[in-house]
Structures are given as structure tokens and as C-alpha cells.
Symmetry: C2
Subunit: 360 residues, 2 copies
């Protein structure tokens, strides 16, 4: 029996994607090979790769100015790879902090430059908001400004993306890419690990404006140098072929759902249902400012935290899994990525109401 | 119909591994989830990860002095990651060149130090041999000595592994790891991409002596710093979970085959059959010195290269795929990794004989 999986990532995948992957495992479309067994330079895998690129470009409406790259190392890898690729001759980059992930990005940047803290959404209640552009205090000459547009742990999402003119805006979009349309043209680069909304862990998507490909530091490893990767169409080293294949199946599934506008409407409906349930009662608490509440990751606390284990055990008994909050913040967290169906959120909300009415 | 797949990597996988992966795709052992959907910190995936580590340690008889890490970025990624992790305060490292891969490793090292060329197996016929220890001219104080113990493109394998005493020996073992027993204790570190003998592309295995974990350069990205990765048991960033799962299935399959002694005997039989067919006739040519001939990658040329396309077309018609040599050297190449069955090599040899007898 399949469960409702609220994992923050690796996370739920569409069942029909998994079915197709299982069906094609031993013999991909008469090739006599599994996708895992294909040379990345053979015509079969090349077609899978090209189709994934085309579909992703179409879904996100990536402008011709930007290249799509498939790398490895995930979001944490990019924390080093981004500065190594974009600092050029500049001595600093600016950072907007909205949660644990952007904090880590800021910390890692110290290895390569003197990073500047431009704004922080930290309040007495922890990270609870995404500071508006008017609050950002940029340094004089940053190589780029970095933002994490959805914070998986704190549940803070940034909806207003400013236009920074000549300064490249770079965003970690790992945990909400493909959950809604995004104006890619506003960004110098966006990047994300696949294991939330794209597919399985092991491939990192980087979308970068082509004119920024000439700024790598000499110490940047060739395998992670965006220019080199772009020149080789993501085949400088052997790409994570199967992860790209699974991502491609997810892209096809998204197109069948009606694309990003349709999936956004669906995600608004799911997240409203859950936030409404939290706000309807003092029993559940979410402290994030309403305008910054993530549609993908919904952290919440029981007012009586002594009942946490009870809550999780009861949820598990109903097939509602992976609801425990990240260890750094505690409480609960429901990640409701694209592949988590409305029925899953309804089942969770129903359980939450029932649990509240139970005797302690 | 499944084919015989002689790809150099990504490469053939054991059919029973693929069958199990297909069977478990939607619901891993009653968990209600695909392995792709599991949190890397949940007990289900933790058990998969631990079992893979235990089985690999047992297969390779990895001594307690060495840690096994799962990273991303493949062999080419390690060309930068190794020097960033092992140079410490030293200014050089030494390199033994035996083919294209060690050449690339040597080139990339220039980003981080002044590398020293200790020996080369290049002859008038290209890379055709692995220089013996007596030929190596080490520098005065190298941080380590690097070797690629199997060159996928040139088909050169190193069988005699020297003991360098206090100098760490580091080897790229990507394309023959698990094809035979290896005395891991002789190495400071070995590393390899998975896509030849371990599993699918997207996970890199690093096995490193624990006392070498304190030598990373400050510029080493945290996600690729072996000490950080070791301290977090390969979970500093989200690991490529599905690739680790597939590797674990391959490790179980290897144990069922009788472990590395048994698989080595099998690989000797397969490679002898193929080299004998090549040597038995002037029609086919392999220029690698006999003592350095790879058991995994067998490059060969037709004496009459105008018949190359014919040869490949006829092979394909028989379900013998991916026999074209690497574009940098031309000719043919049969990669006969663990998962390529003896029947596949027999079918190839039979075809080669038949093709030779055909009229041009």
C-alpha cells in the first residue's frame, strides 16, 4: 500500500512516474537496455537528455539568454560552486538570510570572499519572514546577491522577486522550483537539488545567464565550472543519467497536469487547506508571517509539545508519514510538494482535527 | 530482448539487480515508498546505506583504518577534490601517467599545486603500459602519488601495487574496482565513479585512510571535504540515495557470485578468451603490453580500418552493442565489466571470427 509521504526531501514522486520507471527498467523502449546501462553519449540517452532540457525550458519559460545545466553535489555543493563561478575579480557577494539554508550558504561563502549580510528575516521567533527589497542593504560592488527563495526547514518562501538591474541575483530554488511560474529572466542564476520537486536525489539543476559564464575563479574544479559544463552540454563528466531520466519523466507529468500555472493553483489550494487548519485552532501554531508562508513546507507546532510523539504515532498509523519537524527546530513539518496529492493534505487535516479532539 | 552491452560506462548491470529494482520501485519492502522517495535520515534508507557500507567493506576487505564515503561528481570531480583534500601544506603531488584519465588528473592538479610527473607509460604507440615502481621518479616531498589503476580508454591496467611507505598512494580505480581483490591497506585513498562496476552513474566511492582526513585546503568545498563527509557518515548533504541503493544491490549480487576471488577468476576467463581471439589473427590488433592489458576494457583495431562501420553494423545486428572505441583513439573497444556474462564475450568472439572470414 502506498502511503502519503510528507518528507522534506528526498520526497514523494508521482506514482505514474514510478510505474513508468519500473516498466522501463529492463528494456527502455526496445533498446534492450535499462536507462542506467546506457552510455551517456549514445543516441538513446542523448534523446532522453535533450527532451528533459526542452521540457524544463518550456515549463519554466527559461529565456534564450539562460543555459540549463545538470550537475552534481546538490544545494550544499552549490554553496561553494556558486562563488567559485561568479566571484570573478570581485571581493564580496551579498546575502539575504531567510532560514537555515541561506545561513549555510552565507557561511560557506567565507571560504572564497568576504561576504556581506544584506538582510535577515530572523526575529525573536526564529526565521519567520522574507525581508522585502526595501530592507536589503547591498554592499558597494557585490559580485552577486544571493537569496534562498524557499526555506525548507523554516517554511519561509519569497514571492516578490526584485529586479536588481546589473547585479546578478542568484537563488537557491531547491525546494519550490516548478511549484509555480518563476520569472527566470530576473535571475543571474538559480539552482536546486532535484530531490524535492524535480525527481530523485543526485542531480542539481543550474540555470545561468550565459554572459556570466566567464567569471570562474582559477581554483574552480573543472567538473563544477559552469562554463566547462555548458560547453560540454552537461557531459564534461558522466552525468547522473538515471536521475536526469527520472527528472524528465516528472517534467512530462507536470506538462500533463497543465504546466506551472495549473500546478500553482493546486499548490495554493493544498497549502491554504493546511494553513487554515493550523490557524483555526490554538492547538497548532505556525509563526511565519502570512505573506512569507511557504506553499511547499509547512512547519507547525503543537501547543502542548508533550504530545508530539503521540501525534506522530497516530499519523503513522493512518499512513501519514515523515511529519516530524527538522531536528534544529523541532515540532512538525508537512512538506506538500507537487507530487503530494490534495487527498493527502485532506487526510492530514482530518487527522489533525481528530487528534485535537482526543483526550490527552 | 536484452542485448550484450559492451559500453565503457554507464555500463551493463546484472539483470537480477534490475529486476529487483523494478519490483521494489513503488513499495520498498512494505514501506509504502519507493527508495527514491525516502528521507535519507529515515530508518529505511539508513538501513540500506549501512548494509551497502558493510557489504562493500566485506567484499574489498577494507581495513578498519580506512573510511568508506559516498560522494558525487565522479572521477573527474575527484581530480580536483583529491588535491583539495590531501595537499595540506605541501606544494606538490606526484603523478604516474598510464592513459587519458591519469593525464586529465595531472592537468587538473595544476589548479592546486605544482604537480610532478613521476612516470609515463606513453610510447610511440600511445599509452601501452603501466610503468613499474622501479621506473617511478618521485619528487622530494610529495603530498601523495597518484595512479589510475585501470585506464578505460587505453585498456591499461596496473596489477602490481607498490608499497610507498609513508607517502600516501592514491588511485583512481573507477573502471576496475570490484573486478578483483585489491590490497586497500597499500593506499592512502582510492576513488571511483560507480557507473562501471558498482552501479549507476551519480555516486562516487571514496575509501580513505582516516589519518589523512586532516589535510584539506581551506578552499575545499564542505560538501566535498572528506573529513566533513566522514563525520556526517556521507550525509552532510543529501546523498544520491537511489544510486547507493543500486550499488547495494550490486554488492549483494557480487557476494552471491562468490565475492571478488570468484569474480576475478571469471574476469580472467572472459578477458583471456577475447585477447586470445585478437592475438590469434593479424586481422585484429591490440598494442598494449601483455602484462598491462586490462581485464575490463579491451580496445582493439581492425587491420583494415575501412571496415570499421561494417564491423559495428554487423555486431549491432547480433545484439552486440557499444563496441565503438573512444573517439580519441578510434577503433573498437569491448568493456567486459563484472556484469557482462561469459556468453556475451563468447558471442563477440564468435562474431569476430565470422567477420574476419567474410569477404570485404
Amino acid at each position: 500500500m502506498r502511503v502519503f509521504n510528507f518528507s522534506a526531501g528526498p520526497a514523494a514522486l508521482p506514482e505514474e512516474v514510478l510505474r513508468q520507471a519500473a516498466d522501463e527498467m529492463l528494456d527502455w523502449r526496445g533498446s534492450g537496455m535499462s536507462v542506467m546501462e546506457m552510455s551517456h553519449r549514445g543516441k538513446e540517452f542523448m534523446s532522453i537528455h535533450e527532451e528533459a532540457l526542452t521540457d524544463l525550458r518550456e515549463l519554466l519559460e527559461v529565456p534564450a539568454s539562460h543555459r540549463i545545466l545538470f550537475l552534481q553535489g546538490g544545494g550544499l555543493g552549490e554553496n561553494a560552486i556558486v562563488p567559485m563561478n561568479l566571484l570573478g575579480a570581485k571581493k564580496t557577494a551579498d546575502f539575504v538570510l531567510t532560514g537555515s539554508w541561506s545561513q549555510k550558504t552565507f557561511k560557506e561563502a567565507h571560504k572564497y570572499c568576504a561576504p556581506h549580510l544584506a538582510a535577515s528575516g530572523q526575529t525573536a521567533d526564529g526565521f519567520t519572514r522574507s525581508p522585502a527589497r526595501a530592507e536589503w542593504r547591498l554592499s558597494d560592488d557585490p559580485a552577486y546577491v544571493h537569496l534562498c527563495t524557499n526555506e525548507t526547514i523554516h517554511g519561509v518562501e519569497t514571492f516578490d522577486i526584485p529586479d536588481l538591474g546589473d547585479i546578478p541575483l542568484v537563488a537557491d530554488v531547491s525546494s519550490h522550483i516548478l511549484s509555480r511560474p518563476l520569472d527566470v529572466a530576473k535571475f543571474g542564476a538559480i539552482y536546486g537539488g532535484a530531490q524535492k520537486n524535480i525527481g530523485m536525489a543526485g542531480v542539481t539543476v543550474v540555470i545561468v545567464r550565459e554572459d556570466l559564464l566567464d567569471r570562474a575563479l582559477p581554483i574552480c574544479p573543472s567538473a563544477f565550472e559552469w562554463k566547462t559544463v555548458a560547453e560540454h552540454n552537461s557531459m564534461y563528466n558522466t552525468p547522473p543519467t538515471y536521475a536526469i531520466y527520472i527528472a524528465g519523466l516528472v517534467f512530462k507529468w507536470l506538462k500533463k497536469q497543465g504546466g506551472l500555472q495549473a500546478i500553482e493553483a493546486h499548490n495554493i489550494e493544498k497549502s491554504k487547506l493546511l494553513y487554515n487548519a493550523i490557524d483555526a485552532s490554538d492547538f497548532y501554531i505556525n509563526k511565519v508571517e502570512r505573506a512569507s508562508r511557504s506553499r511547499m513546507n509547512v512547519p507547525f507546532f503543537l501547543a502542548d509539545e508533550s504530545r508530539n510523539e503521540d501525534f506522530l504515532a497516530g499519523a503513522k498509523a493512518r499512513g501519514l508519514l515523515q511529519l516530524k519537524g527538522h531536528k534544529s527546530v523541532g515540532g512538525m513539518r508537512a512538506s506538500i510538494y507537487n507530487a503530494v496529492p490534495l487527498e493527502g493534505v485532506k487526510a492530514l487535516v482530518e487527522y489533525m482535527k481528530e487528534f485535537e479532539q482526543r483526550k490527552a
